[in-house]
Amino acid sequence: MSRYAAMFESARAERSAPVIAWSVVGDPTPETWLDTVDALVSAGAAALELSIAFSDPSADGPVNQGAYSRVLGKVDKNHAVALIKQVRERYPDLPIGLMTYANLVYIPSPEAFYAACAAAGVDSVLVADVPVHEVEIFSDRAAAHDIEMVLIAPPNAQEPELKAIAEQSQGFVYLVSRAGVTGTDREAQSPLKSVIATLKKYGAPPTVLGFGISRAEHVRNAIAAGADGVVVGSAFAKLVAEHLDDPAALTAASTGLVTNLRSGAGIERAAPR
């Protein structure tokens, strides 16, 4: 069973939904980042969604761009992969995904990228600027290294796209419930029940809602609308920005964020009869 499948199964057994924590590898420094990862996981983050800093993150809002610029030029790709490997060694069962941009995969070569991911123990890769009809650019290399390919389902996708996303996304489907880039300045909306229903109709893996998740209420709404989990991203990057000079305060705040979000993740409807 894949690490994601195991994660969703154990969450169901606990009548909860997984809260996945996003961060830029090495933000704000490699040492502090490793400590915050520990804090996030101890507080109950069920998986990590990680980004390698990129010069031109066109799907990200200002808060996440800030995270990229803190790291860019300080932690290169090899260093980031080595850090991910350290996290994998510490947490053998934790699902670890990468969210990245196409040029980081393409250069020097997709083969080198997916081989490095596999060696570091990465479970999945989501490429933010590769929509479902362009996945062939990377899909054979991902498959060759047993890396799951996660796709995004936005609220404006038509049925043929949702069908393709349902059929091709592996591990989970990353739901986005509103237009725009990452960030909490536009709050999460409840995912469209019709989007989830269409994905399920075509046999999609579990769905996870991202973009604009910062409070327990967002998590509750997501789950009530049928999402199987959530990703918290820019709310965490904001904490990093607020505690740049105080790693201890950052780990405490990270713990607080995940604890708060998890309090919205209970699933009443899943109570056994």
Binding site: G61, Y101, N103, I107, V130, L151, N156, E161, K163, V181
Partner: protein
């Protein structure tokens, strides 16, 4: 393939649609609108009549009188500098503004480097009653101040971009970010024949009027095709615009001149075809400049309009296939040609176009005895560059 594209999204291995999934639907809507409009005689007539009555087409083909002295070359300039707005950009912006109206959208989003595309878009927005948001790198707003003032006077909102290298590529990112949240009522008027499909095709079709006219004009004047057509390349819209009509004419050599900056063997240039490799950026697979990790390079050129680390996919393809020859001209050479054309012919060219001119002159003067006909696309006028050129010449003690 899920998307049923109406026109081909690829040129060889280049092109495609490398955007977040949320932008696939607005791109499909745009493609459908363009394909229907382009086969609609009423739309075409409206477009062509605006180019004629409003923008001033056809533009002249001017034979250079003094610069070619001592050679047997007849050199012609395709005068896009005379177009309303001061550059070729107006050709395609009028087309995209008409598409915006046809899609029922009320706002346009624009990225600009030198500010020529921004000015053209602000003009079209004023004409058609569209709201206009223009993203421009902070550095570009400083080096192209007159154009910023023009855009604001025309009623557009100019938003300086402080992320990344604060130049054109960052303005492109910001425009994409805006569009991913505003596509319901906003159209992104992408400024060059690059970016995700269908933009490279749409912009080429709206710009090919340059080459269609130039080809007919040179046949009328010379009774034959030119030996060579030369254009500068940033994103590539003036080059693809003047080349397209000549692509089937195998005897005509097509030369694309990239910004060599301080030299293509330094790290300060924008020669994305000559020095770049295939990668994925700004919604397309094309040639680009990036470091060994895949981080996009911060290009350099004295001309803001060429200061871009990638290039349209069709030009990448035409160079790979051998149809287009790719060369470069440095900042220094471009300023030289700027001064020469200004003093020698009484025409002040844009620094962008000066790259094409300097390279053409270099080859012409290297073969003074060759009898030949050369066309240079003078893509824009240089008023916007006066401050840049003046300070450059002062620094070198030449003014």
């Amino acid at each position: 393939m899920v998307s049923s594209h109406i026109t081909g999204p690829y040129f060889g291995e280049y092109g495609g649609q490398f955007v977040p999934q949320i932008l696939v639907e607005p791109l499909r809507q745009l493609e459908k609108c363009f394909v229907e409009a382009w086969s609609d005689e009423t739309f075409r007539q409206e477009y062509l009549s605006l180019l004629k009555e409003y923008a001033g087409r056809p533009t002249s083909l001017t034979r250079v009188r003094n610069l070619t002295e001592g050679t047997r070359t007849r050199l012609y300039l395709k005068r896009e500098d005379l177009l309303h707005g001061g550059a070729h950009k107006t050709n395609q912006v009028i087309g995209q503004a008409l598409l915006t109206k046809r899609m029922g959208k009320s706002s346009i989003i624009v990225e600009t480097g030198a500010g020529q595309h921004g000015v053209a878009s602000a003009i079209a927005a004023a004409l058609f009653g569209l709201r206009c948001r223009i993203y421009m790198g902070r550095i570009d707003t400083e080096r192209q101040r007159p154009n910023v003032e023009r855009m604001r006077l025309l009623g557009a909102e100019v938003i300086p971009v402080d992320s990344g290298s604060r130049t054109l590529k960052d303005a492109c990112n910001e425009a994409l970010r805006d569009w991913s949240g505003s596509y319901e009522d906003s159209h992104y008027v992408l400024g060059t024949a690059a970016g995700p499909h269908p933009f490279p095709t749409i912009v080429r079709e709206f710009q090919r009027v340059i080459g269609d006219e130039a080809r007919a004009q040179i046949l009328e004047r010379e009774g034959r095709l030119p030996d060579r057509v030369v254009a500068c390349v940033g994103g590539g819209s003036n080059a693809i615009g003047v080349f397209t009509a000549f692509v089937p004419d195998e005897s005509v050599e097509l030369v694309a001149v990239e910004p060599g900056g301080l030299g293509v063997d330094t790290d300060k240039h924008g020669a994305s075809i000559g020095k770049g490799e295939a990668g994925v950026f700004f919604g397309m697979r094309s040639k680009l400049l990036s470091d060994p990790d895949g981080q996009i390079f911060e290009s350099h050129s004295i001309s803001a309009g060429l200061d871009f680390p990638s290039v349209g996919p069709e030009l990448s393809y035409l160079v790979d296939s051998g149809r287009v020859r790719c060369e470069a001209a440095t900042d220094d050479e471009a300023v030289g040609a700027f001064v020469e054309l200004t003093k020698g012919e009484g025409i002040i060219p844009a620094l962008e176009s000066s790259h094409a001119l300097t390279f053409a002159l270099k080859e012409i003067r290297a073969e003074p005895d060759r009898e030949q006909v050369v066309v240079v696309n003078l893509s824009g006028r240089g008023d916007k560059d006066l401050a840049t050129v003046t300070s450059y010449l002062r620094q070198r003690g030449e003014l």
